[in-house]
């Protein structure tokens, strides 16, 4: 589904991604872990098309198409969704109105008819239940004044609405209480299917108890320096990153 080969990206003269290789197949869940500042959010941003970064080398294909050629909105329409580490507050635009616009733009791209108000509301009700989010939150300005946890939950709600093929969750678990964590994980698991894939960026093994990954990767200094099965996450939780850093330095 997604093939990243030797992806390099920088901001200004600062090189951040130094050759990422990753292959994600439909149906899989990949966890990406790694120390602060190693480039996890940068990778997520580059995949979703943030223009602040210059891609200086490598390629990314998504379902056979050159992803790097596409505008962010096209990537979304092709089925990529990024749950932001820091969701943005947008005063004056309600979540409901925002999502309706987004959904119908995506449907337009796919040659589908727009959802009417009734269909949209029905879908919204269904998904609200799934992530246990309140109507009053959704009629407020998007993320404005939301608590940290409410913002994250709103990201998952949007994901549930848009039903992406590839969801990238950037530290969606940080700042969540245990109940919210479970709800978020459930939202992700509901979407799991042989046609979809998920990339979960996290610092905590805890989330991976709920969203069990097929692979765990360690990103360090802009490279994936170690990959393994889900047990790698336990090892990292236990031992930290020093041993990996040491391994990298000796190579």
């Amino acid at each position: 589904m997604l093939t990243i080969s030797n992806l390099q990206a920088s901001i200004g003269s600062k090189e951040i991604l130094k050759g990422i290789n990753l292959d994600v197949k439909a149906g899989e869940v990949h966890a990406i872990m790694g120390p602060n500042g190693s480039g996890k959010s940068t990778l997520a941003s580059v995949l979703s098309g943030r223009e602040d970064y210059d891609v200086t080398g490598g390629s990314v294909t998504f379902e056979g198409k050159d992803l790097l050629e596409m505008a962010p909105e096209e990537r979304a329409a092709e089925g990529i969704f990024l749950a932001f580490q820091y969701p943005v507050e947008i005063p004056g635009v309600s979540t409901t109105n925002f999502l309706k616009t987004a959904m119908n733009e995506i449907r337009k791209y796919r040659g589908q008819d727009p959802l009417d108000a009734v269909q949209f509301l029905k879908l919204m009700k269904e998904k609200m239940k799934l992530v246990n989010i309140d109507q009053s939150l959704l009629s407020r300005s998007l993320n404005e004044g939301f608590s940290g946890g409410e913002k994250k939950r709103n990201e998952i709600f949007q994901m549930a609405m848009l039903e992406p093929k590839l969801a990238i969750l950037d530290e969606t678990d940080s700042g969540l209480d245990i109940d919210a964590l479970r709800i978020v994980a459930e939202g992700v698991n509901q979407l799991r299917s042989p046609e979809r894939a998920t990339i979960v960026v996290t610092h905590y093994q805890r989330l991976l108890d709920y969203i069990v990954p097929d692979y765990v990767h360690v990103l360090y200094k802009g490279r994936i320096v170690k990959s393994g099965p889900k047990e790698l996450a336990f090892e990292l939780e236990e031992k930290g990153y020093d041993w990996i850093k040491a391994e990298v330095e000796t190579v």
């Binding site: 098309g49 223009e51 909105e73 932001f84 943005v88 616009t101 987004a102 733009e105 848009l162």
Partner: protein, 440 residues
């Protein structure tokens, strides 16, 4: 060239026009009103058109205006069919049309019963109720300081006089539609309005300015608003003029005890615009609310000057102006707040926020607070920035195309001022126009 030489053409023409006006007046030139006109003309002659050396006109250069040649009060044939293209809102209320400064009775309708309000053209008021008019006319808008006010006062002839008797609530809104028909020649008009709201009366009035055609137009409008004790007024000024339009306007408000004034000034389009909104809080426990929205693109220039003069204690003024600037447009906001020594316990708030969408657009903001009382609450703030890039990316990453995301953000920015327009058809019309402008 000296500044006065630059002024010569238009100024000399206007001075000559005044002499021929006087000749036509015959006997009427002895009236008190005409004496005021004559005095105003003298002041205009003395002041001359302002140059950018004048502090109040630093960013608004009228030199290109005074180089144009205009036909004042040009005859025009505007029919109901011509109005269709303007897609004006259908307002249930009193609608008065003026074309190139002249009243158009066949296009107008007055629905409010006579006991609720008297609404006449200025022309009629001069003939029929000169004494009532003289009590108020030119008593508020200062023609000794401002050349354009002086000019308007000197030629005051057409416009609207609204008088709301005490203890009456006028339900239907009144909208004055000033149309410049610039299809054939450059046209100029100088509407002069006077709204007097007596004790404990209430009224809603909107002024709309539009252009037909591509020739240049010049509108020099003065509106005086007098609110007696406990009077309440909603006042809207909506400008939707052509890129070839020059508009200089002054709205002068005088408020007595416990009166309430609520205004929104919305400039959707217009080549060269200067709005002065001056409010004298000449009573205690008054409230004045001022909202503004301006949205220049291309090479449009929009200048809003506001002045709130707190003269008595315990009054409250509140101001929010917002601007979106595109292309090579320029905007000016100058907000003065005076709090005189007697005006203890004043609350005065002012805020001006701008989004500048292009590197070639400029916004000049200048808040000016002069406070002589010690027990007051005043705050002011201005911001000028770009559209939030983070928000833009967030929206695009959810599938909303860039243009659409930009319009949503801009609309959201303008929304809180748009929502202040309480006459529904007027607000809906403005919403549609803004959305159309955003979608371009």
């Amino acid at each position: 060239m000296t500044p006065s030489n630059q002024n010569n053409d238009l100024k000399a023409k206007l001075l000559a026009d005044f002499r021929s006006l006087e000749e036509r007046l015959n006997g009427a030139s002895k009236t008190a009103l005409h004496q005021t006109r004559r005095e105003a003309l003298h002041q205009f002659d003395r002041l001359g058109f302002p140059t950018i050396k004048h502090e109040e006109w630093k960013y608004t250069n009228v030199s290109s205006l005074i180089k144009e040649v205009f036909e004042f009060n040009a005859a025009s044939q505007v029919t109901a069919d011509d109005l269709v293209q303007l897609e004006s809102s259908r307002l249930e209320g009193n609608v008065l049309y003026f074309v190139n400064g002249r009243y158009q009775p066949e296009l107008s309708k007055i629905v409010s019963p006579a006991e609720q309000l008297t609404i006449t053209t200025l022309d009629e008021a001069i003939k029929n109720t000169p004494d009532l008019l003289a009590q108020y006319f030119a008593q508020y808008a200062d023609y000794r300081q401002d050349a354009f006010t002086a000019l308007n006062t000197a030629f005051a002839q057409e416009g609207v006089f609204i008088h709301v008797p005490a203890n009456t609530t006028v339900e239907a809104p009144t909208i004055l539609r000033f149309l410049s028909d610039a299809r054939a020649v450059n046209v100029a008009s100088q509407p002069r309005n006077l709204f007097v709201v007596e004790k404990n009366a209430e009224v809603k009035v909107a002024e709309s300015f539009r252009t037909l055609g591509d020739q240049a137009s010049f509108t020099n409008v003065v509106t005086e608003i007098v609110l007696a004790e406990d009077a309440r007024m909603e006042y809207y000024k909506v400008q939707n003029e052509s890129d070839m339009a020059y508009h200089i306007g002054t709205t002068q408000v005088d408020q007595k005890d416990r009166s309430y004034f609520y205004s929104a000034t919305v400039t959707l389009d217009g080549g060269f615009i200067r709005n002065n909104l001056n409010i004298a809080l000449d009573g205690s426990e008054c409230e004045a609310h001022m909202y503004g929205l301006y949205f220049p693109n291309g090479r449009q220039h929009i200048d809003n000057h506001t002045l709130v003069d707190h003269r008595q204690p315990n009054s409250h003024s509140n101001e929010l102006y917002k601007g979106i600037l595109e292309d090579r447009s320029t905007g000016v906001f100058n907000g003065k707040i005076f709090v005189r020594q007697a005006a203890q316990k004043t609350n005065a708030y002012q805020s001006c926020k701008n989004v500048v969408l292009s590197n070639d657009a400029t916004m000049n903001t200048k808040p000016q607070l002069e406070i002589f009382a010690d027990d007051v609450k005043c705050s002011h703030g201005t911001t000028t920035g770009k559209l939030n890039e983070e928000a833009l990316f967030y929206m695009r990453s959810r599938g909303i195309p860039k243009d659409e995301a930009q319009s949503l953000l801009m609309y959201a920015f303008a929304e809180d001022v748009i929502a202040k327009i309480k006459i529904d058809p007027l607000r809906e019309q403005i919403e549609r126009r803004i959305q159309a402008k955003l979608a371009r």
